[in-house]
């Protein structure tokens, strides 16, 4: 008898899928049910089911992460409320992809496919899926930073940051409301900031253009005076080009 594992975090949806499978495929034995990704990986290992019906948005590890732990001998059917994961799902070697709410006719198609399909994964070159569904959107710029202030953690709006400054293994985040520390080095930070809003001015500093009052020049070096702040920021020669007069 073929065996199946169901991974679904919502109890009613778990019952729904199990009911449908029992009705439409009586020979199938549902050997296990997991409600989070970690449980799923453990059950996949101990039960070695022929197939797994895998919800993508589950706690712990998500379905796509769980899929990486699935041996080739287990067929994967992703079940999700979101069509946007289709590309990644098929790249992960899915036998099929079901969108919730489930529809009986569509589930029958899946069952037919699972019955006739040999266990070799459905080979579609990754590029094809991108062509069909479009490229995944580029990562937008960071809008929030999680930073520590004394012994609490706080979210700081990136647009509120006046400047970032390296400090040993930390980066100081300076806002009008106070300072905070993050672990991320400037090098990783600058890649995630909008270049229209922030500029690196020194090996150890990034400034928000909006915080600048004016820039003073002293020979080869420059100094930034911030709006309403006492401290000045040095612009090193390597980064001074962007402040030369147009």
């Amino acid at each position: 008898m073929p065996t199946a594992l169901i991974v679904e975090d919502e109890p009613l949806l778990m019952a729904e899928l199990a009911d449908h499978l029992r009705a439409l495929w009586p020979e199938l034995e549902i050997v296990g049910q997991a409600e989070n990704g970690i449980e799923a990986v453990a059950l996949l290992e101990s039960l070695q089911p022929d197939m797994v019906f895998l919800d993508i948005q589950v706690p712990g590890l998500n379905g796509l992460e769980v899929a990486r732990h699935i041996p080739e001998s287990t067929q994967i059917v992703f079940v999700t409320a979101y069509a946007e994961y289709a590309v990644q799902a098929f790249e992960a070697g899915a036998a099929d992809y079901l969108v919730k709410p489930l529809n009986t006719a569509r589930l029958l198609q899946t069952i037919k496919r699972l019955k006739t399909r040999s266990r070799d994964p459905f080979q579609v070159p990754p590029g094809v899926w991108h062509k069909v569904f479009g490229q995944p959107a580029a990562t937008p710029y960071m809008k929030w930073i999680k930073a520590s202030v004394a012994n609490t953690v706080r979210l700081v709006m990136v647009s509120d940051v006046l400047y970032f400054q390296s400090e040993d293994k930390y980066t100081r985040v300076v806002t009008a409301a106070g300072d905070a520390l993050i672990r991320l080095p400037l090098k990783s930070l600058i890649a995630q900031l909008d270049p229209g809003q922030f500029a690196q001015i020194h090996r150890g500093a990034i400034v928000n253009y909006q915080a600048i009052d004016h820039v003073d020049r002293y020979g080869a070096t420059m100094e930034i005076q911030l709006k309403g702040r006492a401290e000045k920021l040095q612009v090193s020669e390597a980064y001074s080009r962007q402040f030369r007069q147009m």
């Binding site: 975090d9 919502e10 109890p11 009613l12 949806l13 019952a15 729904e16 009911d19 409600e35 989070n36 970690i38 449980e39 948005q57 706690p59 712990g60 409320a81 979101y82 969108v99 919730k100 709410p101 489930l102 990562t139 937008p140 710029y141 960071m142 809008k143 929030w144 930073i145 999680k146 609490t152 953690v153 706080r154 979210l155 709006m157 647009s159 993050i182 672990r183 991320l184 995630q192």
Partner: protein, 179 residues
Amino acid sequence: MFNTLANLKYLVRTDADGAQQMLDYLVGYLQNALPDMRSVSSTLERELELARNYLSIMQIRMGQRLRFRIDAAPALLALPFPPAMLISLVENAVKHGLERASRPGEIVISATLSGARLRVLVSDDGTGLADQMGQGFGLANIHERLQLLYGDAASLAVTAAQPNGVNAALTVPLPAAKA
């Protein structure tokens, strides 16, 4: 939304009363959610109702994993409150705090007066601020809208809760203080 409909589909077949209840919450949610997108102002009562309907739906869906409580003195309910912000914080608490956690969690919404300002706090005991960085579109959007509506008189503060979870506090000035 589609997950909610999927739940409803199962309930219609197996539990007519449960389905009826889910549908009532869904209608309540949509009645409050849809007109809000366009209106400039709402009331605390309406925003709390929207959150209550949403949380009731999620409670049916998530079963034991979600509990919630709403604390607001009746005298505060008629106060004006900007639309669609509270629900966005509550959705964050469910999606980022509780849905990702493999243990049960609780969400508490409490409204209090602090001086001439109304403070609405959404606390959860879920997984907390998991990522160092967020693209946090919802939060950035709230922050921007608060600035436009009230300038510096309003604030959104998101902090880590002890021992785990997140506190998100929305503070807006009372109508008299605004003028």
